[in-house]
């Protein structure tokens, strides 16, 4: 597979009809193994496996089933958000407000239900509307002004960060919301967002299931639907996409709203597993989501990536976060370790892809 492509059009005389289709004949097939390696999500899978082996060797507690369930739970809370963030990234944008938007959503649901003593579902639904609204605002502002998403969402990030703290203090007189665990509808909502179940004696959190379901759904949408095609197109070349009739505005705005949906879901999970919300949290999480998507092989500039890659990316994060604890190291090393992981994964990814796509 060394030689092959020349800068000449592959044009021949009109084709001979019949079963024996003629081919260009100048490209030899790369071996299936190499073509598989060229896929970004395979690179990150190998990376995640390497980290897993590392911790299995150095931290014996990781080998336990319940530790693995814990790692998967940690991964799922990152992974559920990393999915829409990855789709948005493939669509050519990113969202710095994703981290605090999670808290905004949880605060909205919690305070609204508590202060008005209504069924918890009212708060949950309103929080969904607020989250989608934030996404809509981000997307609309981006499309209308043509500003880079960095600026637009940095603005939203700061606004939400301030609003989270200020409004919470205003309403509750405290930096955290009140406990809502005795309110009507709480058990129901908890069953959906924050319950757990047993598999072979191992307690597995429901978010792991949601994470994998969403990942499967995102993969299907990305590769098998019109909308998925549009995501790749608006991220790969916005002007081309618009010129051939792809609804660029709709695609971009809806992607931001999808991130809003993810923020709502994770926010609800946090609310129903801890019963209260700390208003100052969420800052810095947006970078974790973006890092998971990038480690998962999504191109920061858009146009390429997958939904499966970020699943492995998020798994790597959860693994490192818990693995350090199980290995008995000082957890302060977590961020440093992550940085090394990020750079390492990106470099390995780059190297694997270059090697595998070389012609």
């Amino acid at each position: 597979m060394s030689m092959t492509r020349q800068a000449e059009p592959a044009v021949t005389t009109p084709p001979a009809p019949g079963p024996g289709r003629q081919t260009d004949g100048r490209t030899s097939r790369r071996s299936p193994a190499l073509r598989l390696l060229a896929r970004p999500e395979v690179g990150v899978l190998l990376g995640a496996l390497a980290v897993l082996v590392f911790f299995l060797v150095t931290a014996p507690p990781v080998r336990d089933g319940s530790s693995m369930a814990n790692i998967l739970y940690q991964s799922s809370t990152i992974g559920i958000m990393a999915l829409p963030v990855a789709l948005l990234m493939i669509g050519g944008e990113f969202d710095l407000s994703a981290g605090v938007a999670v808290i905004t959503s949880a605060l909205t649901a919690s305070m609204l239900s508590y202060q008005l003593t209504m069924n918890i579902w009212v708060g949950v639904i309103v929080a969904l509307a607020v989250s989608l609204g934030i996404g809509l605002f981000n997307g609309w502002l981006l499309v209308k002004t043509g500003l880079p998403s960095f600026l637009v969402t940095l603005g939203t990030f700061l606004i939400l960060q301030g609003v989270n703290l200020a409004v919470t203090k205003l309403v509750t007189g405290n930096v955290a919301t009140d406990d809502i665990s005795d309110m009507e509808g709480f058990a129901q909502a908890k069953a959906i967002f924050a319950s757990s179940f047993d598999i072979g004696g191992v307690n597995v959190k429901i978010t792991v299931v949601w994470w994998l379901v969403f990942a499967a759904l995102a993969t299907w949408v990305l590769l098998r639907t019109k909308y998925g095609n549009w995501i790749f197109a608006v991220g790969g070349n916005k002007e081309s996409a618009r010129a051939v009739g792809v609804p660029v505005t709709f695609t971009k705005i809806s992607l931001f709203m999808l991130v809003g949906f993810g923020a709502w879901f994770v926010g609800m999970h946090q609310l129903f597993s801890f019963n209260t919300v700390q208003s100052g949290e969420g800052v810095g999480q947006e970078l974790i989501y973006i890092a998971a998507a990038v480690i998962g092989g999504c191109l920061l500039t858009g146009g390429a990536g997958s939904a499966i890659g970020p699943v492995f990316g998020a798994f790597m994060f959860g693994l490192v976060q818990q693995g350090i604890v199980y290995a008995g190291w000082n957890p302060d090393w977590f961020k440093a370790f992550l940085g090394v992981m990020l750079l390492g994964a990106v470099l390995i990814n780059l190297w694997v892809q270059r090697t595998a796509t070389r012609r």
Binding site: P9, N229, A233, G245
Partner: protein, 302 residues
């Protein structure tokens, strides 16, 4: 009589023999201003089926503005724009596409990282299944793309390869085949040969002729008069936002076309001046009088 004062207005030729029917697309005195900048003014253009209409012009002559109006990216601010005899005003490229006007852009015809077949159907994807499960009909799309490309004489080994890995000429050909497949009646080609080598340009010109023979009206934007003359039936030269020349193939020679394109009229005016300078050979430069011949007379206005 200079080309400028006849070319700008009333330059539409009425040559019944060359007009096989009503024009599919017609501009009457159309123009476009961006704020206080008048990019295009008083342009008349008729595009017929089965004909290649070449629009020539130097950089900044208004070629891009002209095609943006026709393709629906921008709207004209003066004059009329008619499709099938009815006045139109497109607000999106989609509307132009629905009228059968497809544009193949010089550098933004495709999304480089996407596979060939996805590019081929981008924006007009084939689907199957009921709504919640409605999905891309990948098998049919690949097959159709392959057949359409083969019909145009393009054979690719692997439709899964990113279109960015194809050569410039191949990309143009895929874009042309795409437009033809989606029932374009008018095909606008924005400098399809500008970035190509000699051989690849020839290939693209072949497909322009192929598209014309399939009954399309082709608008071929270029600044290469040689390429234009090879396939063109009608030539319009833009200069500084106005129409300088509007002539049928029968009325203009390649030499005259080249002179117009190369700023021949200005060169002629400079000839006297240049002849004073030692070392400049002015013998081959045209006289101003040579250049007026192909320009349509004002009384020929329709």
């Amino acid at each position: 009589m200079t080309p400028e004062n006849t070319g700008t207005h009333g330059a539409v030729l009425t040559d019944p023999a060359a007009e096989p029917g009503a024009p599919v697309v017609e501009l009457r005195g159309a123009g476009k201003s961006y704020g206080n900048i008048r990019a295009l003014h008083g342009v008349d253009l008729k595009v017929f089926a089965n004909q290649v209409t070449c629009v020539l012009g130097d950089n900044g002559a208004g070629k891009s503005t002209l095609i943006k109006i026709i393709s629906g990216l921008h709207q004209h601010t003066e004059g009329e724009f008619l499709v099938d005899g009815g006045a139109v005003r497109f607000s999106t490229p989609r509307e132009a596409l629905d009228k059968g006007i497809a544009t193949v852009y010089q550098d933004l015809a495709v999304v480089p990282l996407m596979p060939v077949w996805r590019n081929f159907f981008l924006g007009s994807e084939l689907t199957k299944g009921p709504w919640p499960l409605r999905r891309l009909d990948i098998e049919r799309m690949k097959q159709t793309a392959d057949e359409e490309l083969r019909n145009m004489g393009i054979v690719l080994d692997d439709l899964e390869q990113p279109i960015g890995t194809l050569s410039g000429g191949q990309r143009q050909c895929v874009a042309i085949a795409r437009a033809v497949h989606f029932g374009a009646r008018v095909l606008i080609l924005d400098e399809p040969t500008a970035a190509l080598g000699v051989k690849q340009s020839g290939v693209v010109l072949k497909y322009i002729a192929a598209a014309r023979d399939r009954g399309l009206g082709v608008i071929f934007i270029t600044h290469n008069p040689h390429h234009a003359y090879m396939v063109g039936d009608h030539f319009s030269v833009l200069r500084l936002g106005t129409m300088e020349l509007n002539a049928s193939r029968a009325d203009v020679s390649l030499e005259e076309l080249t002179n117009h394109m190369a700023g021949g009229t200005e060169l002629a005016a400079l000839k006297h001046e240049l002849s004073q300078v030692r070392g400049v050979d002015v013998d081959e430069l045209p006289e101003a009088g040579d250049l007026t011949a192909p320009v349509a007379p004002s009384e020929g206005k329709s």
